[in-house]
């Protein structure tokens, strides 16, 4: 399937709005994670506005594709995308992390319809996605499972237990995607716990592996399309992303893993996003 230039432009605009939502939510919350959510905004947009078979008005629809967010700390991008696609009102985004909010600091399944699972503690998502995929295969269902992981989750032993499992059961209805942004809390992944060669590791475990630019909508969408055509193996998409993408002073910096912008920084960030990092001269253009 090829995307029209018009469609790509629409997706880019939506992703930009989602990035603005993320900045506003984090400023209002006063705590939370900036880099990962901004880096994954394009992928979330592609998933919810193009790839996933879901119905925001019927979050419990039996036939829906299942999205498992394993690295729960990037939930601002999940919440913002869900609001933009119509799961709940945009106005609710400002309740993030507050007492009584459905938007818990890390996603809680029981709090918000449309969440498939609870996450935050790293390294548990792929196993749950495997469980859903295996059950789905055995029941012969049409829906597929998508699991989003971070690169630091590749430090977790549990992730590799699941990777072995998916290979054994040839979970071809499962597509995992790793946010390969090269950062974790204490520094760059290759300094903290070297992961490379990551592609070859998963291939050795029986996966079909693709590497893409995680900010290129055509690449994102065609990778998920390709995954559907692989019938013997689970597919892994290693998505190279820029943490903090769209906000110059956050891009590529692990220091922005777990802090929100302050008033001043949020203003700068929103200006950058509204002008697409200077590509548009005025915010109102």
């Amino acid at each position: 399937m090829s995307l029209t230039a018009q469609k790509i432009k629409e997706l880019e605009e939506t992703a930009d709005l989602i990035r603005q939502d993320i900045i506003s939510m984090l400023l209002e919350a006063g705590s939370g994670h900036s880099a990962g959510p901004l880096g994954m905004a394009d992928i979330f947009t592609a998933l919810y506005f193009q790839i996933l078979q879901v119905d925001p008005k019927k979050p419990e629809w039996e036939e829906r594709d299942r999205l498992v967010l394993s690295n729960g700390h990037i939930c601002p991008v999940l919440y913002a995308t869900m609001a933009r696609v119509g799961y709940f009102p945009l106005s609710e985004l400002k309740t993030l992390r507050k007492l009584g909010s459905r938007l818990q600091g890390h996603p809680h399944r029981g709090s918000l319809p449309g969440l498939e699972t609870t996450s935050g503690p790293l390294g548990s998502g792929l196993s749950q996605a495997c469980g859903m995929a295996l059950a789905g295969l055995r029941d012969g269902v049409k829906w597929r499972v998508v699991c989003l992981l971070s690169d630091a989750e590749q430090d977790c032993g549990n992730t590799w237990e699941a990777a072995l499992f998916a290979g054994k059961y040839k979970l071809h209805n499962l597509t995992a995607l790793i946010d390969r942004n090269n950062i974790q809390i204490d520094g760059f992944t290759e300094d903290i716990m070297p992961l490379e060669p990551l592609k070859e590791k998963y291939e050795a475990f029986g996966w079909h592996v693709l590497e893409i630019d995680g900010h290129n909508f055509e690449a994102i969408i065609s990778a998920f399309e390709e995954a559907k055509t692989i019938f013997e193996k689970p597919t892994l998409i290693i998505a190279h992303t820029i943490p903090g993408k769209g906000v110059d002073f956050m891009e590529g910096k692990f220091e922005w893993h777990g802090k929100p912008p302050n008033q001043e920084e949020a203003k700068k960030a929103l200006h950058e996003l509204r002008t697409l990092q200077g590509k548009i001269r005025s915010e109102h253009q």
Binding site: L99, G100, Q104, G120, C156
Partner: protein, 331 residues
């Protein structure tokens, strides 16, 4: 009346009482320990800044180990290093260590009886906006049930610092529970601290509040308020949950005849359970256990959550009134 032999902070009941997270005291303790004992090593699971081990890592890079996000490996590598003569401090958030790696701690650390020090930061619901996944409110129970394990829950940052240093001297596995948020600095350098020995901070004869962690401060505030109402309350800081100072606790049961326990932890399995196990078998008196009532935490500001979950001065006072009523009915 305050126990003057406890040498508590002179500003204890003043508004400008200093507040420091107990994890800071741990970080400072590590630096002192690093100089004292070359066998001390620190293992970190991608949380060096927030668990306050960064200064140690910078000062003693050859004694610092970065594990990445791998808490099971953290526990068992720690066990291996202890087997080779080191005193490992393994550090993370309490939900992940000892939460995620409990069996590794059980078998490779406790059953092997290796002197690994498990440091669980971000314990309690006062972790705040991160929400339930990051709020360890089961850790005391998890650690208390393990043979060999020593379990410490300091009341403030200075006590955390002392505990950090003292732990290295006992050749056993230990667990240290730390807070993310600032908590009032109630003790001083001169305040006695000995692992396994509970301390009386407030003298009284009608009832005893046994508290741990940041709840000790709230217990003191409750005792002060009750004193003004003519009720004489004893307050015990029970910083060591295991081995429990049974002597001090049974003495309080005998002398005051009613107990209230307070902890930022599930009511099942923590301080209240430990006290109950002892007094119910040796000297039964009315007991009220104040803690989190069999539910998960949630996102919110630390103070809002403490309020919502009933970890307040008012609720402690209510607990005291309840046990006093039970006590008078027994007479």
């Amino acid at each position: 009346m305050l126990n003057d032999q406890a040498f508590l902070n002179a500003k204890l009941f003043e508004k400008d009482l200093e507040q420091v997270p107990s994890r800071d005291g741990f970080g400072e303790g590590l630096l002192i320990l690093g100089e004292e004992n070359p066998q001390v090593v620190v293992l970190c699971a991608d949380l060096s800044e927030s668990t306050r081990v960064q200064a140690f890592a910078e000062k003693y890079p050859e004694r610092f180990v970065e594990m990445g996000v791998a808490e099971q490996n953290l526990a068992s590598v720690g066990s291996g290093m202890a087997a080779a003569g080191k005193i490992p401090y393994i550090t993370s958030y309490a939900t992940f260590s000892p939460g995620r790696n409990w069996e590794q701690i059980r078998t490779t650390i406790c059953y092997n009886n290796q002197p690994v020090k498990v440091i669980g930061s971000h314990a309690g619901i006062s972790v705040g906006p991160d929400g339930a996944t990051h709020q360890a409110i089961e850790d005391l129970a998890l650690m208390r049930v393990l043979p060999e394990m020593v379990v410490i829950s300091p009341a403030d940052s200075l006590e955390a610092q002392k505990a950090t240093i003292e732990m290295a001297k006992i050749n056993k596995p230990c667990y240290l529970r730390l807070s993310r948020e600032k908590v009032p600095l109630i003790t001083t350098e001169k305040t006695p601290f000995k692992i396994g020995q509970a301390e009386i901070y407030f003298e009284g004869k009608d009832v005893t509040i046994i508290a741990t962690g940041q709840m000790v401060y709230k217990a003191l505030l409750a005792a002060k308020e009750l004193k003004e109402q003519g009720i004489s309350v004893r307050v015990i800081n029970c910083h060591t949950i295991k081995p429990l100072d049974t002597k001090t606790i049974l003495k309080a049961a005998e002398e005051t005849g009613a107990l209230v326990t307070v902890e930022e932890h599930q009511v099942f399995g923590g301080l209240g359970s430990a006290v109950s196990e002892q007094i119910s078998q040796k000297f039964p008196v009315p007991l009220k256990i104040i803690g989190i009532e069999d539910r998960f935490g949630e996102s919110g500001k630390p103070e809002e959550l403490l309020e919502k979950f009933g970890l307040t001065v008012q609720n402690i006072i209510h607990g005291v009134v309840t046990v006093l009523r039970m006590k008078s009915r027994l007479r």
